[in-house]
Symmetry: C2
Subunit: 293 residues, 2 copies
Amino acid sequence: MRYLAIVAALVAWTAAPAAAQTPPRSMAEILEQSPASDWRTVPPENTLYMELPAGRVIIELAPEYAPNHAANIRALIAARWFDGAAIVRSQDNYVVQWGRDEGDPAPLGEAQRTLAGEYDRARRGVAVTRLRDPDSYAREVGFANGFPVAGQNGRTWLAHCYGMVGAGRGDAPDSGNGGELYVVIGQAPRHLDRNVTVVGRVLQGMELLSVMPRGTGPLGFYETPQERTPIRSLRLASEVPERARVPLEALRTDSATFRELIDSRRTRREAWFLQPTGRINVCNVPLPIRVRG
Amino acid sequence: MRYLAIVAALVAWTAAPAAAQTPPRSMAEILEQSPASDWRTVPPENTLYMELPAGRVIIELAPEYAPNHAANIRALIAARWFDGAAIVRSQDNYVVQWGRDEGDPAPLGEAQRTLAGEYDRARRGVAVTRLRDPDSYAREVGFANGFPVAGQNGRTWLAHCYGMVGAGRGDAPDSGNGGELYVVIGQAPRHLDRNVTVVGRVLQGMELLSVMPRGTGPLGFYETPQERTPIRSLRLASEVPERARVPLEALRTDSATFRELIDSRRTRREAWFLQPTGRINVCNVPLPIRVRG
C-alpha cells in the first residue's frame, strides 16, 4: 500500500549524513535517552480530569499565569459546577467550548461569579526558553513551565496554540470566571492572546474534543440540547484515589532535552524531507507528555 | 445564558469610535457591500465534488501552482479512481487523508502512476497580495489566485494552512501522483511547505473532514477497514449536470475588498476585543466563499 510506504517513510527517523561526529538524534531517540531529571511530574492539584462518555480528557492548569482563575476553577470543581455541564459549542478551525446554561445553574460554592482577566503578567521572574524564529504576533516567543508563551514590552502571556484552554467571557473584561472553558482545535487564533484568560492546556484526550460534530448555530454553538455531549464529572487529580490517577510527566521546557527536540523539529533530518525548513513556529513545537512507567 | 452573551458579543461587529470620517466596516459589511467584480466564479474544471455519506466536500484545484497534478487528478477522476476509495487516516492536529489500498486498486486510465513533485514555482508572473506581517517560515507571505502563498529567493509556493489539500508521496520526490490526498486539519504544518505538492484547498464541507475520528495506528491511520469512511464518488463540477452544481464564488484575493478584509482582521475593532492585535498570520486570514445568489 502506497500509504503504508508513506507511514514507513515518516516513522523512520533516518539520520542525515553526519557532518559532526555525533549524528543528530531522532525525536524518539531524544526522548527515550533523556535523563529522568528533564521530566517533571504534573502536579495533581493542577491536573483536571474531565470525564466524557468517550473517555477522559486531562488538562493542566497554569497558575503561574492565571493564579486567580486556577483557584476559581478548583473552587468550581469543589462545588461540582461542571458535573452535568456539557459541550455546548464546536466551531470548525476555532474552538470547542463547555459550560452550563444560565437556565440550568449549579451552586458556585466558594467560587467567584466573575473575575478580573489575567491576560498577561510581568516578564520578570519567568524563565523563558526562547525560540529564535520570527513570530507573526509578538516580539518574543518561547516556552515557560511547559506552556507556549509570547511577550513583549516587559510582559509575557500564554499563547493560543492548539490544545490551549481559555476562559470564556462576555464583552466586559471581568465577566468570566472559569466556569466556561474552551479549547483551541484549529489554526492558533493568536489574536485572542491578551484578550482572554488562558488557564492551561490539554495534556491527553485532545482527540476526544477535536472531533466534536461542529455546531450549526452562530459561532458553532449547538442549536438543540440533544447535540450536546454531557460532562459526567470534572475532578482534580488530587481528589481522585491514587489508583484512579494517570501519573503523567511532562518534558521540562527548560531542559537540554527540550532544546534538542526544538532543533530536531526545526531542521527535519528524516529521509522523507526534501527541504529541512530550518525554522519553526511556537505552536508547531511538540510538548511531550508520558505516563510514568 | 452567559455563552449566549458571548455569542452576541462576538456576532455584533460594533465599530470602534471613529477617528477618520468613515468608521471601519465589519467583515460582514465589507463582504455585503463588495462589488460583484471583486468575486470570481470558481472554475468548474478546477472544482472537485467529493461525496461522503455525510455530505459533499468541495475542493478547488490550484493549477497555477501544480498544473501536472491538477491534470492528473482530473485523469484519475475520469478513470473513477476515487469512487470506492476511503478516508484512511485521521491524525489529530495534522491531516485527514484519503486514497486506495494497493490491494484494492482501480484502473488509472490516462493518469500517470507517478509524477515529479511541484513543490514551488517561479515568483515571476504571479501577482501576490502581500502581507506585511512577519512569518515564522518564509520571507514573503500573501495570497495569489485565492490561495495562501509563501516565498523567497525568486520562488513561490502554496502554504500549508488549515484546509489546504496536498498529494501524499513516499520518500522519493516523484512517488506521488495525486491519487492519495490529505487535508490539513490543525495548526498549519508549514514545515511541509516545498516538501509535498499542494494541489488546492477545501472550499466547503471542511467540517465533514475535520471531525473524522482519529485513527489509532501509526500516524493516525485506521487499523481496521471498518473505521474508514467510504468515498461514494469524486467528480469534477464540470462533468456534473448544471442543476447538481453549487455555483460558488470566491473573493478575489487581488481585490480592494480583500485588502480591507485583511485590515479588519489584523486590527480587531469589535467591542469584545481589548487588544486589537494589529498583526496577523497568513493562515489566519479568511478566504471568503459564497454561493452565487
